[in-house]
Symmetry: C3
Subunit: 417 residues, 3 copies
C-alpha cells in the first residue's frame, strides 16, 4: 500500500472563488486582533543582529502543549557569511529567497555542506557547529532563511558563536589550553567582537583543498575514525541534498492552489526531531476550508500576499474554579512576514483575497503521522457521522444537515499522489 | 514462562475478618479528612452538563508525578445520545451500569463501534470523534460511564463538541467552506446549542446501511484507502470487543474478595497510553493489606458500599530549606461515588466494613509492568529481608519481627492465574 | 567499526605544565564565587542523618534542562548497616573509599547482592528495596558512597525506610494486616525509630542459608516464579559485578593524567536511566582543556586535591523583554568534597595546581552517545572550520588564528582505545 499518509499532510481544498458573488476583499477583514496570541506581526519581531551584511530578527512562541519555539529570520546580502555558531537546539530551516551554502560539523564528527536555494528545507541537530555563506553574485536576491529552533531545553538561547565560547575563559587558561603566546590571546580578546553576519569573499575551490586544515577537518571531533591522510573531497559520500517545497510534486494541486507537507517519513533529514514543514499556496479568492491539526501546533509564516485566518476555540469543559481556561475565537488579517500560530485541535480556515494569491510556509510541532481533519469537503469528518446524529449535534433538521454536508461530491480535489 | 506479572496487578489479600474479635464498624472510622487531597467526595464533583436525558459531572486530579487527569461521570437515560465530540486527550472508560453502543472515527480513518455493558472497559485515542447511545429499553438501568482523560497536554479541556468546532467560524467562511446557502448557515448558527446528552430513538439496522452516508463513512478521514463502494457492514473486520472486569477470570479470588488488573499487556486496546485499570472487591470485614504501587498513582472510584482507606506518607528526606515537602498520613471513609487518589510509593490499605462489601474500580497511571508491593502477607517485601536486619530496621527484637512477618504461611491466597 | 564513541567520553588533554614558567599556585585562584550556582561546597551540604555508625549528607541540584537531581554522601563505619530503604528514584552510586556489600530486592522479584569496593559504580532502579553493610574489619577505611538520585518524579524524597512505610498505619490495620497481637504492634510503634545507619555484626555465611527466611527470599515479591524449595545460594545465576573506574582501562591516559567515562553502552547495569559516570585525574599542573558537553549537564565531586574550574556562559540571544536570561561566566576553586555543576553546552576547563593532582568523579545527565567537544587541542572543533572563517569569527588576522589552532599537532594524546 503506497504510503500516502505521510504525504497527505494537507488534502483537500474547497472550491470557493467561482461559486460566490460577493468577492472577498481585503477591506472585508480589517477587523483583526493585532495583539492576540495567534498573530505575531512582522513589525513585532525582535532584531537580534544587524550589520551591513545582513540582519537577524526573532520571535518566541509558546504553544502550551510541548513548550517553547524560537523563530529566526536571517537575511544575508550576497557574499556574506553567517559566522559559525554552536546549536543548542534542533534547527529546521526554510530558504525563502536567494542561494547559498550551509556547512557544518556534527558533534559525532560528521561534517558536510549543502548548497541551498529558494524553497529548500533542511534540519541541523543540536550540538552541531554550522555557518552559512551567501552566493557571491551581487545581482542575486538576498539569502533569506526562516528557521525554527526547538528551544524547550535550551535556556541560554538557540545557539552560541565561537567567539563567546572561547573568550569567556581567563587568559591563562587560553594560553595553556591553546598553547599560544599571551600576545595572541590579547589580540583575540582585545578586538571588537564581530557581528553575526560579515562580508565574505569566497575562495576558489582549489584553494579549499590545499591546506592542511581540510585534511584534519574530518577528524576534528572526538571519536572520528578517519585516517589523517583523507582529503577533504571525500568521494565515497553521496551528496547531501535538501528537500525543496517548490519543486517536489505537491501533495494536492488544483485550480485553487496547492499544498505540500513534509515529515520525517518523507525526508530523512527531519528524523530525530518532532518538527514537520508544510506550505500552502492559495490562488486568489480561495480557501483552505475549516480543519484542525490533530497532532501538533502549527506555526506559519506568510511569504506572499495577504490572507484572512480564522481560529476557533474548541469548546471548553468548565475548567477548575481556581483556573478557568481562557480561549477565544480569533479572526485576523495576515500579511507578508507575519507569523500566525494555531494550537493543536483548534479548527482554522485560511482565505486568500480576490486580488492576489496567499502563500504561507510553516512548521508543525509534534508531527508523527498526521492527518489534518477537515470539517467541510469530500473528506469532512462530519460525513463519517450519521445524518440523524449530526442533526442532533447542531439541533437542526435533517434537511439542513443534508445541505451542510451533502453538496460536496464534486469538490475539486486531486487524489493522485 | 507464563506471563503472570501483567495479570498480577493485585495479588494477595489478608484474611482478617474471622480472625479478630473487634469487628470493624463504620462508626470506627468517622474521623476522616474531607478536604484532604486523597479524597474527592461525590458531592464535590462539578456538574458540567445536565439535561433530561442525562448528566455529566467531573473532577480534576493532579498526581504531582506525571501531570493532570480529568475524570468524568456520564449518566445517560435509556434511549439517549451523548453527542459526538472530538477527543483532545486519550480516554479510558469503565461502564458502571447499563448498556449502550460507542461509535467512533479515528483521525487515521478507522471507524468502529462497540456494544458495551456493565463491567466493560475500553480506550479511545486523542483525535478520535465518538458518540454514545444508550440502550432503548426503558426498563433498563441508566448507562453510567466513568472515564479518565490524560489531559496533561490538553489545556482546552478533554473534548469539543461538533457544534463548537463549526459554529465559531464566520458565516462567510462557513458558506464558502461548506458551499451552502446563507439560510442554512443562519439556521445552524441561530438555533440554541443542544445539550451534551439528548433523547435518541434508535433506527432499524436496515436503515443504517441504506444511505449513501454509510458508504462514505469509511473514507471520511484524509488518507483513507478504502474504495467508495464499500458498504458499512465491513465483513472482513473482526468484531471489536471490550474487556470486562466482572466476567474475566479474576487475578486473585478467595473468600475475602477478588481483584483484577488490566494493562496494555492484557488488553490490546490499552496500548498507546500509560493508563491501566483495576477493580477490587472486598467482602464484608476484609482488607487489602498494606501495599504500595511502585509504578504509578492510583485513582479509584468507590462503586459499591463503603470502606476505610489509609494512605501513609513515605518518609521524607529533609527537603530544601526553601521548599520543605509537606506530606501527611491520611485515613478517611469512602462511600459510593467518592474518588480517592494514592500517589506512587505511598503505602495504602483499604478495609471494608462488617455490614457490606466494598468495591472500587480504578485507573493506574504510568503503568507498564506493575507489581504492587505488599508489606504484609505471604508475598510481603519484608519477608525478603533478613530477620536481623528487619529487627534493626524497626529497632525491635527478633521475636517481635518473627511475629510480624512469620505468621502468614497460611494466608489464603489463590496463586492460580 | 569498533564502537569507540561510548568509551570516548573524554578524549584529549592539553599538555601544559612543562610548557609554562609561571606555575599555577592555589593562591592564583582565591577569587571564586562561593555562592554561585556552579559550586556547592562541602560545608553547605545538608546533614540528613547522623549516628555513631555513620552519616548522610545531601545536596539538591537543578540543571534547568531535565529537572532535579539529589546527591547523597553516605559514610559508614566498619561493621555498620545502612538500613533497608525503598527507592523512589533511580540511584547511581560511586564507592569512594572502603568495602561493603549492597543487597537488594527489585519490584519484579529479582534479588541480588554485590560486593563493592573503592572505585566501583552501580545503578539500582526505582522501586527497589536495598541495604548496605560495610566490611567488618575495624582497621579498614570507612565505606564512603557518593550517590545521585534522578528525583524529577519523586516529590517525597529519594527513598523511604521500612519503619516509615509500616508505622504510619493505624494499629488496627497493622494487627489485621500482619495478623499479630496488639502487643507486637505496640512494641513496633513504641520504640524510638532507629537512625539510618546502625552497628551491624555480620553473621557466618552458613548462618545465612540456614533459616527459612532465605528460602522464602526468592519469592517475596509478587509475581515471583521460583519454587519454595530453592535455596538462597542460587548457583545458576552469574555473579553480579560492579564497574570499577580505577581498574578498568582508561579511555585516555598520558603523563598529564587520565580519564574514563561510562554510559549504558559500556555497562549494562546503567540501562534504563539517563545517567552516565565519569572520572578525571589531572596530575599536578595539568588541565582538561576548554570543552563542553553537548548531551547533558555534568555534576562532579572533587575526590582528591584541589583545582580551578572555569565555566563560560554560551552567548545568549537577546531574550524575551519579559524574561531576560541571566547567565554569567564563573571561575572558582574546588577542594575535596565540593560539587560543581556545568550545564550542557557551557564551555568549561579544569586545572590542577602545581603541588598535587586533582581528581573528580561525576555524573552526566541525559547521556546517550556523548562526544565532549574540545575547543583546544588536536581534536578541537575549531580545527574543523576553515581558517579564514575562524579569523572572521574572532575578528583577527589569519596569523593569530594560525597560532591559536595551529600549534597542537604534538599534543600528547593517546588515541589507543
Amino acid at each position: 500500500m503506497k504510503e500516502i499518509s505521510g504525504k497527505c499532510f494537507f488534502f483537500g481544498f474547497v472550491l470557493c472563488s467561482l461559486f460566490f458573488q460577493s468577492a472577498l476583499m481585503a477591506s472585508d477583514f480589517e477587523e483583526y486582533c493585532p495583539s492576540f496570541g495567534p498573530l505575531v506581526t512582522k513589525e513585532s519581531r525582535r532584531v537580534v543582529a544587524f550589520s551591513e551584511s545582513g540582519m537577524i530578527s526573532a520571535i518566541d512562541v509558546q504553544d502550551r502543549y510541548k513548550g517553547a519555539y524560537h523563530l529566526q529570520f536571517i537575511t544575508m546580502e550576497p557574499s556574506s557569511l553567517f559566522l559559525p555558531v554552536l546549536l543548542h537546539a534542533d534547527m529546521v530551516f526554510y530558504v525563502h529567497t536567494g542561494k547559498g551554502t550551509v556547512t557544518w560539523v556534527g558533534d559525532d564528527g560528521t561534517d558536510d555542506s549543502l548548497d541551498v536555494e529558494k524553497g529548500d528545507i533542511y534540519k541541523l541537530e543540536q550540538g552541531t557547529v554550522f555557518y552559512i555563506h551567501s552566493h557571491p553574485d551581487p545581482t542575486r536576491e538576498r539569502l533569506r532563511i526562516h528557521a525554527i529552533f526547538d528551544t524547550q531545553e535550551a535556556f541560554v538561547g538557540a545557539y552560541s558563536n565561537l567567539s563567546d565560547l572561547v573568550c569567556g575563559f581567563d587568559d591563562k587558561v587560553l594560553q595553556m589550553g591553546f598553547r599560544v603566546s599571551e600576545e595572541a590571546i590579547q589580540t583575540i580578546k582585545g578586538v571588537e567582537k564581530p557581528p553575526s553576519i560579515v562580508p565574505f569573499a569566497a575562495k576558489n575551490e582549489s584553494d579549499e583543498v590545499s591546506t592542511n586544515w581540510e585534511e584534519r577537518l574530518l577528524k576534528a571531533i572526538i571519536g572520528s575514525q578517519k585516517p589523517l591522510g583523507m582529503i577533504y573531497n571525500n568521494k565515497k559520500k553521496k551528496k547531501t541534498r535538501a528537500f525543496n517545497l517548490l519543486t517536489t510534486k505537491h501533495d494536492v494541486e488544483n485550480c485553487n492552489g496547492w499544498s505540500i507537507a513534509v515529515t520525517r517519513k518523507d525526508f530523512r533529514a527531519l528524523r530525530g526531531c518532532d518538527i514537520g514543514v508544510f506550505m500552502v499556496n492559495l490562488t486568489k479568492g480561495s480557501m483552505m476550508g475549516p480543519h484542525w491539526n490533530p497532532r501538533g501546533t502549527e506555526i506559519a509564516i506568510a511569504i506572499h500576499g495577504q490572507g484572512m485566518v480564522q481560529v476557533v476555540c474548541p469548546s471548553v469543559m468548565a475548567g477548575d474554579d481556581d483556573e478557568p481556561i481562557k480561549c477565544e475565537n480569533a479572526r485576523f488579517k495576515v500579511k507578508e512576514g507575519d507569523v500566525f500560530i494555531v494550537p493543536r485541535f483548534h479548527p482554522m480556515a485560511q482565505i486568500s483575497f480576490n486580488n492576489d494569491s496567499f502563500v504561507f510556509v510553516g512548521f508543525s510541532t509534534n508531527v508523527k503521522r498526521n492527518h489534518p481533519q477537515f470539517l467541510a469537503g469530500k473528506w469532512s469528518v462530519l460525513r463519517s457521522i450519521r445524518k440523524e446524529i449530526l442533526a442532533m449535534s447542531f439541533n437542526v433538521g435533517n434537511e439542513t444537515v443534508e445541505e451542510l454536508v451533502g453538496s460536496q461530491d464534486d469538490v475539486e480535489v486531486d487524489p493522485n499522489l
